[in-house]
């Protein structure tokens, strides 16, 4: 049985290999970002979050 390998020049998809890789990368990264509710290419929160003591707001008073 022939092994499916798009990096083998005999494979009809050989010339599309980089396109296929980009598609796979898009599918995987979108699934990852969607799962954790993150934004692609948006960086993390526009206003940074930090592990500091929280502001003393009305709630603590």
């Amino acid at each position: 049985m022939k092994r499916f390998n798009i990096f083998n020049s005999n494979n009809p998809l050989f010339h599309y290999r980089w396109f296929i890789l980009v598609i796979i990368a898009c599918v995987l990264s979108m699934t990852w970002y969607d799962y954790y509710g993150n934004r692609m290419f948006g960086g993390s929160n526009s206003n940074s979050n930090g592990y500091g003591s929280s502001k003393t707001g009305a709630y603590h008073k």
Binding site: S9, N10, P12, H15, Y16, W18, F19, I20, V22, I23, C26, V27, S29, M30, T31, Y33, D34, Y35, Y36, G37, N38, R39, M40, F41, G42, S44, N45, S46, N47, S48, N49, G50, Y51, G52, S53, S54, K55, G57, A58, Y59
Partner: protein
């Protein structure tokens, strides 16, 4: 007990259907299939002196379809065009069949019990490539017709005593496979179905171990000339003085060619006859090399090296302007599923016609398996699907197919352990692996990818809670600055997001800024945010314009599970105070921007592929 009619020596028959046997005394004995009587052959078949095996020899064992066999002998058929061996394979139960071998191709012949095939006279009227109907009026393509004028036998064979000239015809159909008709005599022939196997497929054992070669001194310069490819060799050229020899297969010796000397004075090729190397893990010896030149157009010329391995047969290295292609002959034509005037489709690969030409040989070194001075009748078509190529060579008597692949010059240098650099590379090679894609293929693949992304994103969106955890409104009627602190609430996902949706419906020629902090009371984490809404509009030179929006949103990501509260602070434009801004806080929302981003990437990548492909196509075809 059968005896040789000449020397009365007992003849051992290794199988049931042995019909011809070479006795040790040199007599070719034919055995009647009916009476089992042995008589001396009347035809001009000679006994083959048991020597000179490249791989198979009498006594070699193997297996086919899980049945073990041993080779009992062979008929060697030779002509001006080449040589072929028909071995007799005797199975353990005494059955016999023919195993054909030549040029590194091996096939088992299975006799078909039909007489529905054409006679030699009809076949001989057709050229290779012609359609011939047989075996139930099915169309076959005539692939090769052979006329052998020298026959030799060694050991015991299961073929009837053939007459000279000995004819065979090979036919091929994409649907029905490969057939061979063997015309033993005017009124005796048989049709066989061929099954080609790689040598590994037969699991041969007890094969020849000593490399076979024929050497003789050059009559001009006394250099020892060696051919490792007899009986396939047809010409050999002295690498020192360029004297040419032809192989006289009747006399089994090389004879000097008085005429047909090459006029061109080329410098020595990169690889010389006798050099050894390894390509695709197959050890090869360079048997010969020649310069070929097209007979029309700009008369481009290229260098072709003939490589030989006793088991795998012949391969070729072709070098043109520093671009190398590694070529191997296929035992049968490719399975073409679609073809047009300038393309063929094989194994779903679209091969475009790159070149069609006739050629002549202008210089040569070493041994060659075809007549160097009779090449003009061969018409060559090169189809390319880089880095692959399929080459069709047709002449009146045969159609040959070669499969080639681009090979890097550095690989050639390494394979033959060369110390000098290979010829410099110019332009773009015919099968140099540049990216070439089909527009329709890119569109199909892109659409499929976008559909997949949409489905995945929808599934992900449906799994989101999209829960509204807070809704508050700031009213700026009394003050331009407002604050609000929420009650404590719990967020239950390991990691998720919060979206703040701002709406200020009566915002006009003004701005409002909402900032704040989401505070995790468990871990002391804080997430700050700030968002300004502004909306300005007016009429200028009769046209209405607007800038900004009365709505906006802010996304806080990487929010871990825990207890939270949120602080908001709203500030509106003191010059143009507004009524109110509403803030809706949603937890665990889908991020549709991700889908847009990946669709954009797929589209841009597809367009870039098509553009690069078009550029590469032009570069190759203009080379």
């Amino acid at each position: 007990m059968l005896q040789c009619p000449h020397c009365n020596k007992a003849l051992y028959l290794p199988g049931e259907n042995i019909l011809v046997e070479a006795c040790e005394c040199g007599t070719i004995v034919t055995i009647s299939p009916d009476t089992k009587q042995a008589v001396a052959a009347t035809g001009p078949i000679r006994e083959l002196v048991p020597e000179g095996y490249h791989y198979l020899k009498p006594g070699t064992t193997g297996s086919w379809k899980r049945k073990k066999f041993a080779l009992s002998g062979r008929l060697l058929a030779e002509s001006a065009h080449g040589a072929f061996s028909y071995w007799t394979a005797v199975f353990e139960n005494g059955d016999t069949t023919i195993l054909s071998e030549g040029y590194g191709h091996y096939s088992m012949l299975r006799k078909l019990e039909t007489e529905d095939y054409p006679g030699w006279i009809q076949v001989n009227r057709s050229d290779a490539g012609a359609t011939i109907y047989l075996n139930g009026n099915r169309p076959y393509r005539l692939v090769r017709k052979s006329v052998y004028d020298q026959l030799s036998v060694e050991g015991a064979i299961c073929m009837p005593e053939p007459q000279l000239p000995f004819h065979t015809a090979e036919l091929f159909s994409e649907e029905d496979g490969y057939l061979e008709i063997i015309y033993y005599k005017d009124n005796l022939s048989a049709l066989f179905e061929l099954e080609f196997l790689e040598p590994d497929g037969f699991k041969f054992e007890h094969t020849a171990t000593t490399p076979f070669e024929v050497s003789f001194p050059c009559i001009q310069c006394h250099t020892t000339l060696t051919s490792i490819t007899v009986p396939y060799t047809r010409n050999i050229v002295c690498s020192s003085c360029r004297a040419q020899y032809t192989y006289n297969y009747f006399e089994q010796r090389f004879e000097a060619l008085k005429e047909d000397r090459f006029k061109d004075n080329h410098s020595l090729p990169y690889l010389l006859p006798g050099m050894t190397g390894s390509l695709n893990k197959i050890p090869f010896t360079v048997a010969g090399c020649c310069i070929k030149e097209e007979t029309s157009g700009d008369y481009p010329s290229w260098t072709e090296y003939t490589l030989f391995n006793p088991v795998e047969g012949f391969s070729y290295l072709s070098e043109y302007k520093g671009h190398w292609v590694y070529v191997k002959e296929w035992p049968r034509p490719p399975l073409i599923t679609e073809k047009g005037k300038d393309y063929i489709v094989e194994n779903d690969n679209h091969f475009d016609l790159y070149n069609a030409y006739r050629y002549r040989v202008t210089a040569a070194w070493g041994a060659h398996i075809y007549n160097l001075h009779h090449t003009r009748q061969t018409y060559v078509r090169e189809f390319v699907y880089p880095p692959q190529t399929l080459i069709e060579e047709t002449s009146g008597w045969e159609e040959c197919w070669f499969y080639g692949e681009h090979i890097n010059p550095a690989e050639v240098k390494k394979a033959f352990r060369m110390t000098t650099p290979p010829p410099a590379r110019y332009g773009t090679g015919s099968v140099q692996p540049l990216m070439i894609v089909d527009l329709a293929g890119v569109i199909k693949m892109g659409v499929a990818a976008i559909v997949l992304l949409l489905v995945l994103h929808m599934v992900s969106a449906m799994s989101k809670q999209s829960k509204s955890i807070l809704f508050t409104t700031f009213n700026f009627e009394d003050s331009v600055k407002q604050t609000y602190t929420s009650n404590k609430f719990h967020l239950n996902k390991h990691l998720s997001n919060i979206e703040l949706k701002l709406r200020a419906p009566d915002l006009s020629d003004s701005w409002v800024e909402v900032s704040g902090t989401l505070v995790n009371t468990d871990k002391g984490l804080s997430f700050h945010f700030s968002r300004t809404l502004s909306f300005y509009s007016g009429i200028e030179e009769g046209e209405r314009w607007s800038e900004g929006s009365t709505e906006g949103s802010e996304l806080l990501t990487d929010i871990p599970e825990g207890n939270y509260y949120i602080e908001f602070e709203g500030v509106s434009d003191s010059k143009r105070p507004m009524n109110e801004v509403s803030i809706q806080t949603l937890y665990d929302v889908p991020v549709h921007r991700n889908l847009n981003a990946v669709i954009l990437i797929v589209c841009i990548t597809g367009v870039v592929h098509v553009l690069i492909s078009n550029y590469n196509k032009n570069k190759r075809w203009n080379a």
